[in-house]
């Protein structure tokens, strides 16, 4: 029986997600690293806030922001830079000749990465909430789920778009991901409300989906947070939904373009540049 195009691509999604999901069980030490390591910087920032007498919500902001760093790191290193790593390890050429859409591969990576990272981020958040006695007041769980989903679709859509752009990078891929860590932590307000950067800066930073997602989640989790918010939750949700569509469409176009360019310049399988 011949598989339909749809079945083949769904299998590709499942197949590419599988190693990331099963990896959690195969290498449990990574789960510990992924959960515990962010807690060190979270602890430091929490004590800075406590030392300078910040209001209690700020401790919660840091813990939530610190937990969410896992998603940004996953998008940078395991989505954007992934095709570069695949090129280095020799898998990319196999992906390219497989009779599937390359978007299915990226979608599989996103699904697997999302599962893996959500587990880590939730563990970090739980440990942070427990360790620092944070009070979460969740008044609208449905909205929280919608915001989280919209943020993740937009964020991983952005990661899919970056993956194709990174395809033409050599060692720049490593440095690019490295460069996009601290500046994004700063501009997206991972450790303080983004509103305090000023309207235009916050607006510019909103192109990174986690900026608005984090701002909305803080409003939904903490009682005093609306006073520190950049935009109302509903507006942020609408923008995130728009970004989701935009990034996925752009990912498709850029992947096609970069694949074509990579083939014509013969750099798709070039390693150690």
């Amino acid at each position: 029986m011949t598989d339909t195009w749809m079945v083949r691509n769904l299998r590709a999604v499942r197949g590419r997600a599988y190693p990331r999901v099963i990896g959690l069980m195969r290498e449990p030490s990574w789960m510990i690293y992924g959960t515990v390591l962010p807690l060190f910087s979270i602890t430091a920032y929490v004590y800075v806030y406590k030392f300078i007498g910040a209001k209690p919500e700020f401790v919660g902001y840091v813990v939530l922001g610190g937990a969410m760093t896992a998603f940004w790191l996953n998008v940078l290193w395991s989505m954007a830079a992934q095709l570069y790593w695949e090129k280095e390890t020799g898998n990319l050429q196999l992906y390219m000749i497989a009779p599937i859409s390359r978007m299915s591969l990226l979608a599989g990576m996103a699904v697997g990465g999302l599962f893996e990272t959500t587990t880590r981020a939730a563990s970090t958040l739980a440990l942070g909430v427990f360790a620092f006695g944070i009070v979460l007041t969740l008044t609208d769980p449905l909205m929280l789920v919608l915001v989280f989903l919209a943020t993740m679709v937009a964020l991983y859509g952005m990661g899919m778009m970056f993956a194709s752009l990174y395809l033409l990078f050599g060692r720049e891929a490593y440095h690019m991901s490295n460069l996009l860590m601290e500046p994004v932590y700063f501009a997206s307000g991972f450790y303080f409300p983004v509103r305090y950067l000023g309207f235009w800066t916050a607006l510019g930073a909103s192109i990174i989906p986690i900026t608005l997602g984090l701002d909305a989640m803080r409003q939904l989790f903490f009682e005093g947070a609306p006073g520190d918010a950049f935009l109302p939750v509903q507006t942020e949700l609408a923008v995130l939904a728009t970004l989701s569509v935009v990034f996925i469409v752009l990912a498709k176009f850029s992947l096609d373009y970069m694949e074509k360019l990579g083939k014509s310049t013969g750099r798709l399988t070039l390693r150690w540049q």
Binding site: E27, S29, W30, I32, Y33, V36, L37, L39, F40, S41, T43, A44, Y45, Y47, V48, Y49, K50, F51, I52, G53, A54, F58, E88, T89, G170, R171, E172, H175, N178, L179, M181, E182, P183, Y185, F186, A187, F190, Y191, F192, P193, Y196, L197, W272
Partner: protein, 289 residues
């Protein structure tokens, strides 16, 4: 003489690996943007809560600690990553390993360039802090001998600790990064980098007092801004850092002792790991991580 040549060539190789992926301008931008952005996170956290007041001793304490921590993180990571990167990524470790050179000279040569590049980031961050944010460093008031000696001891301490982690990297494929980041994270949270250790619970302060980076941070701060560090305690009315009673000489003595202990320990760990790695055939081992 041969070791010196190995050191020099390793440093040159390290420089090429760090810098030749782009043009010099972009590389300089890269060197500046990352540390400045990392520092701005803390600066904004502080500004938001205090309403824009950077004219305080604690702000200088926090800013300088964060800037100097770049050494701890980057050098520690840089030394130990040599093993992983050469073996797994570039697959050149086996050639370097069998070459008739001193392997330690090679590793420390690679580390030296990491220190040099990190120094650019640290200096730019400090200059930015002094000129833009009014960080309390007065060049004329610096205790230069204390600063220089503490920097040398600190670099030595971090580098030899990195060597031990490099030895461990010989035997692991998937843990090198996690272990490095874990050790650096412990230093960040417990060594009084961005807040005084007296803010921590007493059990955590006990951990702080056995970490050499705690003493290094205090010594470097006293060297860079002695008057600010003095007035930090005076203004607060208590020993904020928890180390006010320790003399400069005592701090340097603890650091020197740490270097000695870590040196012996690191060489032992590295040699033991080397023997096991040879026996198990892990010198040219690749695992796609």
């Amino acid at each position: 003489m041969n070791d010196l040549r190995t050191f020099k060539n390793a440093a040159w190789l390290g420089w090429q690996m760090e810098a030749n992926w782009t043009d010099p301008f972009l590389f300089m931008t890269y060197c500046v943007v990352k540390p400045i952005a990392g520092t701005l996170i803390l600066v904004f956290m502080y500004l938001i809560v205090t309403g824009g007041n950077t004219d305080s001793e604690f702000f200088s304490f926090m800013f300088v600690g964060n800037a100097m921590y770049m050494y701890a993180a980057e050098v520690l990571f840089g030394v130990s990553w040599v093993i992983h990167d050469d073996r797994e990524h570039y697959m050149t470790l086996k050639q370097v390993y069998i070459a008739p050179i001193n392997f330690y000279a090679y590793v420390f040569g690679r580390a030296a360039i990491k220190i040099a590049i990190t120094t650019v980031g640290v200096v730019i961050t400090l200059v930015f802090g002094v000129l833009v944010l009014g960080v309390g460093i007065d060049i004329l008031a610096m205790d230069v001998p204390l600063l220089v000696v503490s920097l040398i001891l600190g670099f030595a301490c971090i580098s030899v600790l990195g060597l031990a982690l490099g030895g461990i990297s010989f035997l692991t494929a998937k843990h090198a990064e996690g272990i490095n980041e874990g050790i650096a994270g412990i230093f960040y949270a417990f060594s009084g980098v961005v807040f005084p250790i007296t803010a921590l619970p007493s059990w955590a302060q006990s951990i702080s007092m056995v970490l050499p980076i705690t003493y290094w941070m205090e010594a470097v701060r006293r060297g860079l801004m002695p008057t600010t560090m003095e007035s930090l305690n005076t203004v607060s009315g208590y020993d904020v850092t928890g180390m006010g009673g320790m003399s400069d000489l005592y701090l340097l003595g603890v650091l020197a002792l740490s270097v000695t202990v870590f040196f012996v320990m690191s060489i032992s760990v590295f040699r033991a790991a080397d023997v096991v790695a040879r026996r198990k055939g892990k010198i040219d081992w690749t695992s796609a991580y």
